[in-house]
Amino acid sequence: MVLGITSSILLWYGLVKWTPFVAFNRLPDPLTVFLEWISTDPDYGVSIFTKDYYLHILYSTYRAIVAFLLALILGVPLGVMMGWKANFNAYAGALLDFLRPIPPLAWVPIAILVLPGDEPAVIFVTFLVAFFATTLNTLLGVRSIDPDFFRAAECLGAGPSDILRDIIVPGAMPTIFTGLQIAMGAAWFSLVAGEMIAAQYGLGFMILESYNLVQYPTIVIMMATLGMVGYASSAIIRHLGKRMVRWRQESTGLAQALNTQ
């Protein structure tokens, strides 16, 4: 990992400093970016010592989290219902199949028109992609449950609510968490685009703003920050997922080798 990162930074440095292509010469080199990033008195106004830097991170993170939680609260139950009840799927599935191919950014104008202010609009488009990813993966998760588990539960006297709690939710959990990771990634993706179009704060806004103001190092700082925040958010979900499906961890590997007789 260290080697990969080091060599790509060297490549970046080399491209900017030594290539004959003019296009690359406009880019800031890694050293300039780094020095700007940690400067107590940054040339372009944003570094780890400025309040603005954190304000942008905070805005973006706040939007991503709100959108993600909305997707979780609405997407998981919808996906469960679609996977569980064929009738429900016939209705909701058709609608979803129609809406899903519309790129999230196409919703921006409508969202701004309908929702009060820019903030809900940005959150809405962010929510939308996360919602589709969550719903579809939950649906997939429910469908992937071995039908014998449902039958076995029925044999043992389980009613619909028992089946929901004891079969569907735990059975779909691994796939739901995969979906949530995808949802989080997709959320950041469309959040940045949304912020570029309709926001006054946030990492995406700042990237475009820095471009307009010819503050190129700031663009790279914001991009790198996005990478780190995005990675951290995925890591948190992955970690939570591992804890939630502990049975899966324990059912593989060494534990199995030791316990079989």
Partner: protein, 275 residues
Amino acid sequence: MTKSGAISINAVQKIYDPENAAVHALENCTCEIPAGRFIAMVGPSGCGKSTLLNMIAGFDMPSKGTIQLDGKLLADPSTHTRPDSDRVVVFQNGALFPWKTVLENIAYGPIVQKKLTREHAENEALRLLRKAGNLERIANSFPGQISSGMQRRVEILRALINQPKVLLLDEPFRAMDTVSKSKMHQHLLDIHQRFQTTILLITHDLVEAILLADTVLVMTTRPGTIKLNIDVDLPRPRSNDMIVSEHFTKLQKQAIAAVHEEARKAFERGEKELA
């Protein structure tokens, strides 16, 4: 306590997909299974053994005919009772809930039926595990952590804790090696002795069928019906040595002849369908 768990199957027919290419799974299938009997069903693949078992379990209903349990209607072409804990299925590929521990799996039935509190159910589950050969040590393992033979034993215990009238076993030992299989046979014989439950076992293994069952039902190829009813008059308790006895061999020959005839028919028809 009067013995319960008598199943009567009356002229059952099952056709899948009646509109299109109708598949005749069962035709005029009739038999009486007395309470407490150990029945083995053998026959070529696709002869409707599982279909019959599914109808008894309550997953499906017949196109014609009726199925009764202790004189009470289980299924006819217009209704089928829901699956219930009085006839529990042990599945071909195993259906222990992988996200629940062995103990939670076994205790599941009484808890969801609200027959026992969680604490009582888990105590009962532990007692069953202990009686099944000191298996308490795996109580807190997840199913994925134990061997497939163990999984089957646990799955059978999960059924038994409900004191079912009928135990429906759908080829549960198919993917097992000979040693585990013979251990499982002893285990199952022991269970049948102790609980006096009606057991319906689907299998492809004729030795297994004869060693375990009171009656071996040989089914015909599709549309499945009962071709031959072999009464296994070997004494109980049964043991593995019986396999080499003369009488066993005689029963086995009888079963082999019947099954092979059907298997050949199925094979020939298969060729015709392909041509």
